[in-house]
């Protein structure tokens, strides 16, 4: 039955890097399924390969072993669209032209792609800035453009690599709520990497905890905090309890990673 088959299936994915003549195992046999429309958060200590996993899913990196399968339900749509941590906008294109970039490369007609881009810009609250260049925007606004660019490309799966990490705390809180609203509107499958447990619990349906290098799936937590969710959920006892539970496990991994770093030659 279609409803039960996963949108994304990662099976036994390992990634090995070559560094200074040695091979380093970054990801070790990662397997997980992501349901259609799910908001999946990935957390783990630094160096656990969170971003590496996302880059494999985005096709920016080829895994050494294993397989990634993404169900293509809409022919013609790209499989993934990534929101990069450092926004990675094209400085020589206006906000509007950055958002139309993906569809333009796929040969979508100008009228159609611009109409869609304006819709997405309205969704992230940047209608008035369509003709601005990236250098004229604040960090938060640039990341909104990054999000608009990704959703305008209408991917099967939306990938986000710590998109809010570089923002100040207030902007981040506002953006978290906006992300929830956009996700609820579009119903996209999202895989979201973050180093913040609070953020993962606020946004995610499930939280995948990766171990320190090599990254393995340590445990997957279900976030039963109800929907729609807002920032106030952070005050609930259930939120605190789950946070403590995941943190005690993450703490072990972080300490292990630090010890390894210290002992490294």
């Amino acid at each position: 039955m279609a409803a039960t088959s996963p949108k994304v299936r990662v099976s036994g994915v390992s990634v090995t890097f070559q560094a200074r003549g040695q091979s380093v195992l970054a990801l070790d046999r990662i397997s997980l399924d992501v349901a259609a429309g799910e908001f999946l958060c990935v957390v783990g200590p630094s160096g656990s390969g969170k971003s590496t996993l996302l880059r494999v899913l985005a096709g920016l990196l080829t895994q050494s072993t294993g397989e990634v399968r993404i169900a293509a339900d809409h022919p013609g749509s790209p499989l993934t669209a990534m929101v990069f941590q450092e926004h990675a906008l094209l400085p020589w294109r206006t906000v509007l032209d950055n958002v139309t970039f993906g569809p333009e490369n796929r040969g979508v007609a100008r009228g159609e792609r611009e109409a869609r881009a304006r819709e997405m810009l309205a969704m992230v609250g940047l209608t008035r800035f369509a003709r601005h260049y990236p250098y004229q925007l604040s960090g938060g606004m640039k990341q909104r453009v990054g999000i608009a660019r990704a959703i305008a490309n209408d991917p099967e799966v939306l990938l986000m690599d710590e998109p809010l990490a570089a923002l100040d705390a207030q902007t981040r809180a506002i953006m978290q709520e906006e992300l929830l609203r956009i996700w609820a509107t579009l119903g996209k499958t999202v895989i979201y990497v973050t180093h913040s447990l609070e953020e993962a619990l606020l946004l995610g349906d499930r939280v995948v905890l990766l171990t320190a290098r090599p990254g393995r799936v340590s445990e997957i937590f279900r976030v039963d905090l109800g929907r729609p969710r807002g920032l106030e959920v952070r005050a609930s006892p259930a939120f605190g309890a789950l946070l403590d539970k995941i943190w005690s496990q993450l703490r072990e991994e972080v300490l292990r990673a630090m010890a390894e770093e210290r002992d490294a030659p």
Binding site: M82, E86, A88, L89, L90, W92, N105, Y133, Y135
Partner: protein, 259 residues
């Protein structure tokens, strides 16, 4: 022009410094601190500039220089950008050409004139090729660097959003290199004028360099200074002209829009 007034308010020193220099010079000559036989007053020089302009001498020489600079710069710009892009994109081409360029580039440009004359017809063509050489290297170097310095993350993001092959070149690599290309063009244009005047001193009967040298040889010091003045103004006009073109064509470059 619309933006000139706020620009002057911000950068008034840029307008004041050359004027101050001229006033200082005029005063030093008038006070007897400078010997007028060797350092005529700016007011005298201006009189000679207008005299040379009115009897047609200036135009005849300036047009010859401008034509040479124009042809040489156009050739250097087209070839320099093409070769520079190639070197920026392909490591093999870069590895092959870099040492060759490194050896040729430091040779004083005027010395190419006899060399070039063995290959192409001596005279106007050889002059233009000689003027183009250094200009070409400057444009090629900056263009290569322009391609190489593009943020890898931006290229990766563009590729992720479907820009490949030709599309990656026209939509990402070329615009990403353009600010550096313009820097190279501005340097190259300045050098084309410098070398043109130098070549005209040694091997031309027409051109600002020729006029300069002739004035010096017959000890018409005022005319020599008048020619200096015209060359200086011409160089500044070309440089600022190209900067204005860059500001118009690349509105997304922060330093152009904000400084």
């Amino acid at each position: 022009m619309r933006r000139l007034t706020p620009w002057l308010a911000e950068h008034w020193i840029a307008a004041v410094s050359p004027v101050a220099l001229v006033i200082l010079w005029e005063w030093a000559s008038a006070a007897g601190g400078l010997r007028e036989a060797f350092f005529p007053r700016p007011s005298t020089i201006i009189v000679h500039v207008s005299r040379l302009a009115l009897d047609g001498t200036l135009w005849s020489h300036a047009s010859a220089t401008l034509a040479r600079v124009g042809c040489a710069f156009a050739a250097a710009a087209v070839l320099g950008v093409a070769v520079g892009l190639g070197m920026g994109l392909w490591r093999r081409l870069r590895d092959g050409l870099d040492p060759v360029f490194a050896v040729i580039y430091p040779i004083p440009s005027v010395l190419f004139l006899p060399l070039v004359s063995f290959v192409v017809p001596a005279g106007e063509v050889a002059t233009i090729v000689t003027i183009a050489v250094t200009s070409f290297f400057l444009v090629a170097f900056t263009t290569t660097h322009g391609v190489r310095q593009i943020d890898r993350l931006v290229v990766e993001a563009a590729t992720h959003y479907g820009a490949r092959g030709r599309r990656l070149f026209t939509a990402v690599l070329l615009p990403g290199a353009l600010p550096h290309i313009f820097t190279g063009l501005r340097l190259g244009l300045g050098y084309a004028l410098i070398v043109a005047v130098a070549v005209e001193i040694v091997a031309a009967s027409r051109g600002l360099g020729a006029l300069l040298w002739l004035s010096w040889q017959v000890l018409k010091v005022e005319d020599m200074y008048a020619t200096f003045f015209v060359i200086a103004i011409l160089g500044a006009a070309l440089s600022y002209g190209l900067a204005a073109v860059r500001a118009r064509l690349l509105p997304w470059v922060q330093d152009v829009a904000h400084r």
